[in-house]
Amino acid sequence: MQLSDRVTGSFLVVLGGACAYGGWLLPPVPGQEIGPDVFPLVIGVGLVICGIMIAFGIGHAFEEQEELVAPLPGEKPPPPITWGRGLTALIPAGLLVFYVYAVDRLGFWLTAGLITLAAALALGARLRLAIPLAILTPMIVDLIFSKLLRVPLPPGLLPMPW
């Protein structure tokens, strides 16, 4: 996920350009000099300028190290993150997307259980911990949200016992 300034800067230039163009296409309000197009135009132009500056490395000197607490002298620094391992960072977001598309069909208990299980295993939990966690956590969350806070959570294939 570590991209060069050149890449992120260029992305901002494209995004800013698209934003300004999209703003420019918006219909004006009749009889008004200033419409919904002004703000996106200003933002778009600003993003393009920032993107160019970032791509050319202006302001890079101000950036501080990412680690909040530096490793001790004797400590070995954390190993560099490979792309393969970097992709595991996408798991949480992926699980949320899975929740959106599965919860109505599978029901809350099943979906939430699968998410908990997958996340726990991805973080290196043993099955002895992950399975009870996957069964109990959705039950507690369901108790709090659907009983106490009255949020309608879909029962689906496997309704809660209450």
Partner: protein, 503 residues
Amino acid sequence: MSTIIEAFGMVLHADVLIAIFLSAIYGLIIGALPGLTATMATALLVPVTFYLSPIAAVASIITASAMAIFSGDIPGALLRIPGTPASAAYTDESYAMTRKGQAELALGIGLWFSALGGIAGTVALMIMAPQLAKLALNFSTFEYFWLAFLGLMCATLVARSSPVKAIASMLLGLLISCIGIDNPAGTPRFTFGSTDLLGGIEPIPALVGVFAVTEVMRAMLTPEPPRLASRRFGSILAGQWALTKQYLKAQMRGNVVGVIIGALPGAGADMAAWVSYAVSKRFSKTPEKFGTGYPEGLIESGASNNAALAAAWVPALLFGIPGDTITAIAIGVLYMKGLNPGPSLFTQGASSMYALYIIFILANVLMIPLGIVMIRLSTQVLRAPRAAIMPIIILLCAVGAFAIGNNLFSVLVVAAFGLIGFVMERNGYPVAAMVLGIVMGTMVEQSLVTSIIKSDGSVLPFFNRPVAAVLATMAIAALLWPLGAWLWSLRPVRVADHSGSGR
């Protein structure tokens, strides 16, 4: 006087007191667990606040965040891993004390001076806010525009990052706030034909994504923190009173710096701690002792971060401009609860404001006994495996986001902003600046458009009211600052060439 009695009546309700007590425990636990921040604690609390009375809702946010900021000191001192970013500045110092066998003293300083700092911040809020409210009652859209502009620029100035990237992040936030039909003309913008996007991106799911999902994503890549050996603690508060008297000046300075940084939009407790630690070292008679387990810096920055937390509510309550990322979330809750931020909150809703002050004081007093219990139980709490906590956080993100509007689209927003926040953070783009842009976008645009319509296209009215002129000068100076700083940074190279010493 009658308003104060009324305020006490509002706070001394069973539901408010229960909310304070439960959110205190919640905040203490979340803060103590590395990787879970005070902002995340607030974000995950929001769905619950919907079902509470307005005062109980705000009380739970205030209490949970104050407790979490203190509690972040615990793993910092015991494991050298800050529980929240606000403790990072002095983690080395407090860990050095633990290694010298003074763990109780280090934790005691964290607890005692956090509580004192929180109370000092509250006093500042009580004094500053009503005065500013009187001034702000005369503000027109021109002042509000400059104020909002200044707020946005502040966030870019104080970021520990490249100012250009901070401005870019802020613009990204503004762009996100453009989505939907919530603009002065009511035209759908950047909705791409999606009905879900018509209503715009709700700030709270976006913030949950940025502050909660991003942390879980980061946990996927970092090794599990080491296990803490079980230990028994001696007296936590022993010697704190002597330290209070000995380092009164440092503590006061910490409070003042904390209040100033907290009140600045976008900069919160973590920034306050960094600045205060640096200030403390700079003015100390014994700067060489810093980093070796010396209490002075710990006292000053510990007092500072909790003072910042309270002071961040000043711009949030007065103008709806978040003073830090926690109040960025809290503003959403305030609107939802009918406590719309603005100077009239202090004139018409004075009793609610007093109730707020009382809650702040109560939370900081309650911090001491509950904090001692937390420290004593910390070895048990810190033993909870991360593989059990993070899945719960993901689940709470999903259910919480859904609960906000009974809408699954919010869960997608959470996921998307988790990704955006993660990529931004990895590449040095400060997410706090983007958050400020998202929260303030509508306000900036509305005040800008109304001002331009009122001025009939002329630029002059933006500058010819005295307060507007002052704010405008500050805002433009803040915008040009990165340029100045960049030119300044070119200077030492030339000097180095002359002296031949190089860098």
